[in-house]
Symmetry: C2
Subunit: 233 residues, 2 copies
Amino acid sequence: MTGKPRHSWRSIRDSIRQMILDTTYGPGDKLPRDEEFAARFGCARSTVHRAMRDLAESGVVERRRKGGTMVRRDPVTRATLNIPITRLEVEQKGCAYRYQLIRKTVQDTPPAIMANFALPEPRRMLRVEALHLCDEAPYIFEDRWICLETVPEIETVDLEVENANEWLVRNRPYSRCDLRLYARRGTEADRSVLNSAVGDALFVMERTTWIDEAPITSLRAVAHPGYQLFTQG
Amino acid sequence: MTGKPRHSWRSIRDSIRQMILDTTYGPGDKLPRDEEFAARFGCARSTVHRAMRDLAESGVVERRRKGGTMVRRDPVTRATLNIPITRLEVEQKGCAYRYQLIRKTVQDTPPAIMANFALPEPRRMLRVEALHLCDEAPYIFEDRWICLETVPEIETVDLEVENANEWLVRNRPYSRCDLRLYARRGTEADRSVLNSAVGDALFVMERTTWIDEAPITSLRAVAHPGYQLFTQG
DNA sequence: GACATTATTATGTAGCTACATATTAATCTA
DNA sequence: TAGATTAATATGTAGCTACATAATAATGTC
């Protein structure tokens, strides 16, 4: 036995995917309606729907009400990144975690942060610069902006002790998260914080989150030399 | 109107998420059974199930048959990366794309590639080194290993013309994809291929795919200086 | 012909029932 | 007590119906 009942949504998803792969339905083609597939496979429409939703989520097809289902013209590789709380990342390596607040100020957002949030004009936000340490060695430096309008409680949090990263993850859900990843040469400023050599290749993660259009936080995290980001294995 | 009917699975998901956020159910706690929630909300179990599946997918809760639903002790940020075919990435910037095969050899896998695939012993694979160009400037250099046992047809493909990246994406679905991202200093070897300066910070993406335990391909893609990877906006 | 209005239609959601499956919990051996 | 067997149970899946929604297609009006 394959372990898949004849009409499982997985087997139907695989059949449809196979048809797409062998170009029974090529890129850009319109697929038959769910009902049509259900009749062909001899299963319920809901089962086809379940299969289609999975194909849509994984980027193989695109669905639109009334418009029907189309094979995506541009296949994409979708990978889910798991970005844990830094404390956990460090502790899972069996190392001691420490968090150190470096600076905390209230400022108007500079253009770069406004761009991240797509704000038309500057807004006063709390800027928190902090260092995550792994066995007392600099691990990740983060430069974070927190919107005081959306998250006023943050002013009452003692960020010397509590970690903005964790406080926000635990207290502020977000509905949208933009991520930008790139490499950057270490500068003199990095050297003093991350203990890196000038010219080291540093891995940078920029993350911006919203709750229903309202900005929450935007941060640039610069990792120590040698840092790697994985997908969930 | 909020646009959400009282019993929509989204509104129920949001209610449950809210209860988790205000620590009605704290990290590690067990949630009531779906049926129990359904009775409380006055909706069907299937609706709670739909809501729970979404929460599980986004990493808020963990579900196990018979075990029930638990609030994840470690909140994670899950981000979906869209990795397009390089040709499309270049063309969407309005640039001209070109692909250039640099070398094509059959070799036994070195330890690093064996580790990526978790292979116990070396295997003969096709190694393809190629360059993606954007307006004739080096864009991404890829060093790819393709498993000849899993993908024998690759030997019949003219890789001078056809692009291994695209051929595989279009012809070989995968069931598992591991991703590793990091920054690396440009070396002398990079300089000659990517036209980068020695010491430049280069963004590296390593990707390994399988189809049901069988290795397909493992590649290291080194991007030109300044490259950025985004999440889908 | 241009534009607003109204049908049509394919997907999306909500509700129900019944059964499958995986795991834990309980029970029965040896 | 240890280990195997069996029961209990929460989630997962498959099937059905009915209606909602969004987007296109058709129609009507000027």
